[in-house]
């Protein structure tokens, strides 16, 4: 397979590269970079395509089994949907609110850091990583695995370490939130990601990966690797 053929295939179906595509990428850094950029583009396309769905559009589908006199099926259906939508809105209000706002902010922040989605074996510059950890007042034990990205990010008015750790289940974003202390661990899933924010040290740690990542194991590893003692 030559580079042109590779790009034609990877550019058409980057999520499902066949063996030949992967083999070519392994031996051609430029094409491997193309595949990474295309995957990143796909992530952004998915975010753009995922237009908000109103509670009514997400409403329960009621079976229009028995027509109601005076109402045609469509009206009956709309009526049923609106009743369920009302219930659903109530549920959303109860489920939403502050409990999820930290998680939402973490996910929103990730949108601005495309590096968080790059699969790579290349570690971050040790000097950069060192500075990020120092600014965040933490140390990181090597057991955490390959840290491919490190940045000191502004998050909720504070500067926090934003790391990407490469795992078997793909890249995982780790944000060390010294000033955010949830009462209990928070789990969330959205836009194809799953994440958790776990109380740790004086604050918490957010860990976000692909929806199918083994987040419990990864979170455990991250918690064990973060040393807050630099404070």
């Amino acid at each position: 397979m030559d580079c042109l053929e590779f790009r034609r295939l990877a550019g058409a179906d980057p999520q499902h590269p066949d063996a030949a595509v992967l083999e070519h990428a392994a031996g051609c850094p430029r094409c491997a970079g193309y595949l990474r950029r295309t995957l990143e583009l796909d992530r952004r396309i998915l975010a753009a395509l995922s237009v908000p769905v109103s509670p009514q559009d997400a409403g329960r589908v009621a079976a229009p089994a028995a027509p109601i006199p005076g109402l045609d099926r469509r009206r009956w259906y709309a009526l049923a949907a609106s009743i369920v939508a009302g219930v659903l809105v109530g549920s959303l209000l109860w489920l939403g609110g502050p409990r999820n706002s930290l998680a939402q902010d973490v996910l929103a922040h990730m949108d601005h850091e495309p590096e968080a989605f790059v699969v790579t074996a290349v570690p971050a510059d040790p000097a950069v990583l060192g500075r990020v950890l120092e600014r965040g007042g933490i140390r990181l034990r090597p057991e955490v695995g390959t840290v491919s990205y490190a940045n000191s990010c502004r998050f909720r008015g504070r500067t926090v370490p934003h790391l990407v750790v490469q795992t078997d289940g793909g890249p995982v974003t780790v944000m060390v939130l010294r000033n955010e202390r949830p009462d209990t661990a928070v789990a969330f899933a959205e836009h194809g990601f799953s994440g958790t924010i776990v109380p740790a040290g004086p604050g918490s740690i957010a860990v976000v990966g692909a929806a199918d990542a083994d987040l419990a194991r990864i979170t455990e590893r991250v918690l064990a690797a973060v040393d807050w003692s630099q404070e």
Partner: protein, 174 residues
């Protein structure tokens, strides 16, 4: 099982399935019509049609492509019935569809604009692949194309979006 959606049990199973898939169906309809109100009508009509024909669905695994086909047909039917006026893309982004204008960040908004402006031939397979998770084979069946044609359209769709984003970024920098 030959008819998983027959009888009382089948009815509730089908209602649950539609319940799960409805947000996806709405998004698909939205990207076909590029209009929230039209998408709502299309999905509502589609689900009614699906409900009436549910017993013809013999495999649960085939439900999503089957429903997507119904949504596509219903959308086409709606356009046959009503001759919608052509809406300029800027109006569509700015005022006709406020949810597009209220994207979470500028990058998402730029990309939504670019996707809206893609020709139907490119936008639809891209939505089916990236949003609906269909394989290129399934997209080919859905659109009545060869797999090679689908691959070409998907490649070109991404190329166009890339180009558009690069131009947009350069414009901002100017």
């Amino acid at each position: 099982m030959n008819a998983p959606f027959t009888g009382k049990h089948g009815e509730s199973a089908f209602a649950r399935l539609c319940d799960e898939l409805r947000p996806d169906l709405f998004r698909f309809a939205f990207w076909l019509a590029r209009d929230r109100q039209v998408a709502e009508d299309v999905v509502q009509e589609s689900l009614l049609r699906a409900w009436r024909s549910r017993e013809s669905l013999t495999e649960i695994g085939a439900a999503k492509p089957w429903l997507l086909t119904i949504v596509r047909r219903e959308h086409a039917r709606l356009y046959e019935r009503k001759r919608f006026e052509t809406v300029p893309v800027d109006d569509l982004v700015g005022s006709e569809s406020p949810e597009l204008a209220a994207a979470e960040d500028q990058q998402v908004l730029d990309l939504r604009r670019a996707i809206i402006e893609l020709e139907d031939d490119y936008r639809e397979p891209l939505v089916l692949q990236v949003l609906m998770g269909l394989s290129t084979d399934e997209i080919a069946t859905q659109l009545g194309l060869t797999q090679a044609a689908v691959l070409t359209r998907l490649f070109r769709a991404r190329q166009k979006l890339r180009k558009r984003l690069v131009v947009g970024a350069n414009d901002e920098g100017d």
